[in-house]
C-alpha cells in the first residue's frame, strides 16, 4: 500500500512539494520578519538600542506600564481560571455548556470591539459613568481600563487549559483527601493544585504573552496618552508613526524577545504536560484492562 511507505521517502514529489511549501511559509511569515526586527533594532549597535529604550522617558514608562498591567491581568485570570475550571469540571448544572461557550467569547470577538464595549460601560458617557464620576474613579483612559481590557482578551487562556486536565483527573483524589480530614484549602493546595500545576503554568505563560502583546482592546481604552497610558505595543506603533523607526524597532525587539522566551517556556512545559498525560493514560489503560478481566471473571 502506498500510504504505508515511510514519510521520508524522497522519491515522492508531493511530499517534497508540501514540505518545501511549509518551510517556505514559516520562513517567509515567521523567521524572516522576526530576524529582521532584531536586525533593525541592533543595526546601530547595542548602545543605540539601549539608549532608545532607556533614555526616552515615554518608552521607559511604556515598558514599566506593560510590566505592571500584564501581571495583574494574568493574576486575575489565574484566580478566575482555577475557580471557573473547577466549577465546570466538578459540577453539572443547567447552562453549563453555555457557560463554557461564553468563556470563548474573547477569542471570537475582535479586540477593538471588546475595547469599545468597555468604553460603553465604564466611559464617562457610559452605563456606569455617573456612578464612577461620583466615586471619582477613573477607569477608561487609565490604568484600571488597561487591566480590564487585557484581562478580557486573555480570559479564555487559563480556564481553557485547566478544564480538560481537571476533567481527566476526576474528583476522586479530592474526595479521598476530604475523607482523610483535609479542609477545602488543604485539598486545593495539597491535591488539586499539584495535579494541575503544569497545565496552569502553560495557561499563565500563554496569557502573559498575549497580555504583553495586546494592542486592539488596549488601544481603544487607553486613549493613547504618551507617558501615561501607552503600553509597549502602543509605544511601538506611536514611534513608528512618528518616523522613529530605530526606536520603534528597539521596543519591538523587546516584545519579540519576550515571545522567544515564551516559546522556550511553552516547549519545556508542554513536555512535562505530555509526560503527565502519558502517566494518566497508562494508569487508566491498566485499570481498564483489569476491569475487562473482572467482567470475564464474573461471567466464568
Amino acid at each position: 500500500m502506498a500510504h504505508a511507505r515511510p514519510c521520508t521517502n524522497h522519491s515522492q514529489p508531493l511530499a517534497v512539494l508540501l514540505a518545501t511549501a511549509a518551510v517556505g511559509v514559516v520562513g517567509l511569515l515567521i523567521v524572516v520578519p522576526l530576524v529582521s526586527v532584531f536586525y533593525e533594532a541592533f543595526a546601530r549597535g547595542p548602545g543605540a538600542w539601549w539608549e532608545a529604550l532607556a533614555h526616552d522617558p515615554d518608552t521607559r514608562h511604556a515598558i514599566w506600564l506593560s510590566l505592571t498591567v500584564a501581571p495583574v491581568a494574568v493574576t486575575i485570570n489565574t484566580v478566575f481560571g482555577i475557580a471557573a475550571a473547577w466549577l465546570v469540571a466538578r459540577f453539572r448544572f443547567p447552562g453549563r455548556s453555555l457557560l463554557i461557550s461564553l468563556f470563548d467569547v474573547p477569542f471570537s470577538v475582535s479586540p477593538v470591539v471588546a475595547g469599545l464595549a468597555l468604553v460603553l460601560i465604564f466611559g464617562r458617557q457610559g452605563l456606569l459613568g455617573p456612578t464612577l464620576a461620583w466615586l471619582d474613579w477613573k477607569i477608561i483612559f487609565a490604568w484600571p481600563g488597561l487591566v480590564l481590557a487585557t484581562t478580557f482578551v486573555t480570559l479564555p487562556l487559563v480556564v481553557r487549559e485547566l478544564i480538560p486536565v481537571m476533567e481527566a483527573i476526576g474528583p476522586e483524589e479530592e474526595m479521598a483527601a476530604v475523607s482523610l480530614g483535609a479542609s477545602g484549602w488543604q485539598v486545593f493546595w495539597r491535591v488539586t493544585l499539584p495535579n494541575i500545576r503544569w497545565a496552569l503554568l502553560h495557561g499563565i505563560v500563554l496569557a502573559n504573552a498575549r497580555a504583553m502583546g495586546e494592542f486592539g482592546a488596549v488601544y481603544v481604552v487607553s486613549g493613547h496618552i504618551a507617558g501615561a497610558t501607552d503600553t509597549m505595543p502602543l509605544r511601538v506603533e506611536k514611534l513608528f508613526q512618528e518616523y522613529r523607526q530605530p526606536a520603534s524597532m528597539a521596543v519591538a525587539s523587546v516584545l519579540a524577545g519576550l515571545a522567544l522566551v515564551t516559546l522556550v517556556a511553552k516547549f519545556v512545559i508542554e513536555r512535562r504536560l505530555e509526560a503527565e498525560s502519558r502517566d494518566l493514560e497508562a494508569n487508566r489503560s491498566q485499570t481498564e484492562s483489569l476491569d475487562h478481566t473482572k467482567v470475564e471473571g464474573a461471567v466464568a
Binding site: E172, E173, M175, A176, A177, V178, S179, L180, G181, A182, S183, Q186, R190, V191, P194, N195, D279, L280, A282, N283, Q286, T287, L290, D291, T293, K294, G297, A298
Partner: protein, 360 residues
C-alpha cells in the same frame, strides 16, 4: 463502633438510588453490600462515609446522630474503587496525608507510616510514586492511607474490582485476616457474590435501592428470601409453573409450598440450583417414581472439579443444567453420552409466588 442506618432515601434527579433503607452494622462486623450496578450499594456506602447526604433518614454511630456530619469529621476510612491515590505524592506521603492535615509531629508521622508500610507489606517502597506500583500494591497503599488516621469504621468501594483474579483472591484472604486482627467495623461494596460470601460475616443483598435480604453467608445462600436473590446468586434453573393446595409441581414432581394452602391455582416460579440436582440411570430411578424425571443428555462440559451436564427433560423444550462433582461423575454407573437417557432427582427446590397472601 456500630452503625445504624434508619429509613435512608436518596435520589439523583428522577433516579431513586436508595428507597427507605435501614441497616444495622454491629461493632466489629465485616459486612458486604452485594448487588448489581445501580442497586444503590455504593450510594449507601458514600452516605455512611459522609461523601453524600441522604434526603430522608438518620445515620447513627454508637447511637449518636451523625447524619449532618461532614466526611472530614466522621473518622471513617474510605478505600476508593480505583484507589484515588495522590499521584504526585510518594507512597509515604500518601499514607501520611491524613496525619499531615491533622498537624501530627514529624516523628510520629514517620513511626506510624513505617508501621503501616509493614502492615501492608510494602516496606522499602515508601519512596515510590503510585504510577510505579502494581494494582495490588496500589490497593494496599490505599488501605494503609485509610487506616493511618485510626478510623473507627473502614469502608471499601469494590476493593478488589480492578485487580486480576489471582491477586484478588490473595488480597481477599489477607483483608479478612487483617480485619480479624484489628477488629474494626468494616463495610465493603461488591458485585461479586463469591467475594461477599468468602469475606463477610454478614451479606446484604441490594436491588433497586432496597435491601432484598440480610444475613450470614450461609443463611443467604441456603435460604434466599426473594426471587431476585436467588437469581443474583446466579446459576440457577428457573421454571414457570403453578402452585395449589400447598404444593407446586415441576414435571410432575411435587414440591411442598405450605405458604400457599389455597385450592385456587396460582402462577409460581420453581428455582433449582444445578448442584442440588442428582443424576442417575433411568433404571435406578424407576422405583423412585414421582420424585425424579426422565431427560436426554445434550452435552457435558468439565471445568475442573465440577462436571456440568446439560439435558432436556422429556416433554419439555427448556434446558436443565445439572452440576455434579467430577469425582462422582466418574464413579456413577451412568451413560453421559449426548443423547443418552438419564433420570434427574431434585434434592432441593424453591418455590416463589408473587405475594402468596393474595388470593385470586
Amino acid at each position: 463502633m456500630s452503625i445504624h442506618v434508619r429509613e435512608i432515601s436518596k435520589s439523583f434527579g428522577s433516579f431513586k438510588a436508595l428507597d427507605r433503607v435501614s441497616l444495622d452494622v454491629p461493632e466489629g462486623t465485616l459486612l458486604a453490600l452485594l448487588g448489581p450496578s445501580g442497586s444503590g450499594k455504593t450510594t449507601l456506602l458514600r452516605i455512611i462515609a459522609g461523601l453524600e447526604f441522604p434526603e430522608e433518614g438518620v445515620i447513627e454511630e454508637d447511637g449518636e446522630d451523625i447524619t449532618e456530619r461532614h466526611a472530614r469529621q466522621r473518622e471513617v476510612g474510605f478505600v476508593f474503587q480505583h484507589y484515588a491515590l495522590f499521584r504526585h505524592m510518594s507512597v509515604f506521603e500518601n499514607i501520611a496525608f491524613g496525619l499531615r492535615v491533622r498537624k501530627v509531629p514529624q516523628a510520629e508521622v514517620t513511626a506510624r507510616v513505617d508501621e503501616l508500610l509493614k502492615l501492608v507489606r510494602l516496606e522499602g517502597l515508601g519512596g515510590r510514586k503510585p504510577a510505579q506500583l502494581s494494582g495490588g500494591q496500589r490497593q494496599r497503599v490505599a488501605l494503609a492511607r485509610a487506616l493511618a488516621i485510626r478510623p473507627k469504621i473502614l469502608l471499601l468501594d469494590e476493593p478488589f474490582g480492578a485487580l486480576d483474579a489471582k491477586v484478588r483472591v490473595e488480597l481477599r484472604q489477607w483483608l479478612r485476616r487483617l480485619h480479624d486482627e484489628i477488629g474494626m467495623t468494616s463495610v465493603f461494596v461488591t458485585h461479586d457474590q463469591e467475594e461477599a460470601f468468602e469475606l463477610a460475616d454478614t451479606v446484604v443483598v441490594m436491588n433497586h435501592g432496597k435491601i432484598e435480604q440480610q444475613g450470614t453467608p450461609d443463611e443467604v445462600f441456603d435460604h434466599p428470601a426473594t426471587p431476585f436473590v436467588m437469581d443474583f446468586l446466579g446459576n440457577v434453573n428457573v421454571y414457570h409453573g403453578r402452585v395449589e393446595n400447598g404444593r407446586a409441581f415441576w414435571h410432575g414432581i411435587p414440591i411442598d409450598y405450605p405458604e400457599y394452602p389455597h385450592a385456587q391455582a396460582r402462577e409460581a416460579r420453581v428455582y433449582l440450583r444445578p448442584h442440588e440436582l442428582e443424576i442417575s440411570s433411568p433404571a435406578a430411578a424407576a422405583n423412585r417414581l414421582g420424585t425424579s424425571l426422565q431427560a436426554s443428555v445434550l452435552r457435558v462440559t468439565r471445568s475442573g472439579l465440577i462436571t456440568r451436564v446439560s439435558c432436556r427433560p422429556h416433554g419439555s423444550d427448556q434446558e436443565l443444567q445439572v452440576d455434579i462433582p467430577t469425582e462422582t461423575a466418574r464413579r456413577l454407573q451412568v451413560n453421559l453420552e449426548p443423547g443418552a437417557h438419564v433420570a434427574i432427582t431434585p434434592r432441593k427446590a424453591r418455590v416463589f409466588v408473587p405475594d402468596p397472601e393474595y388470593v385470586i
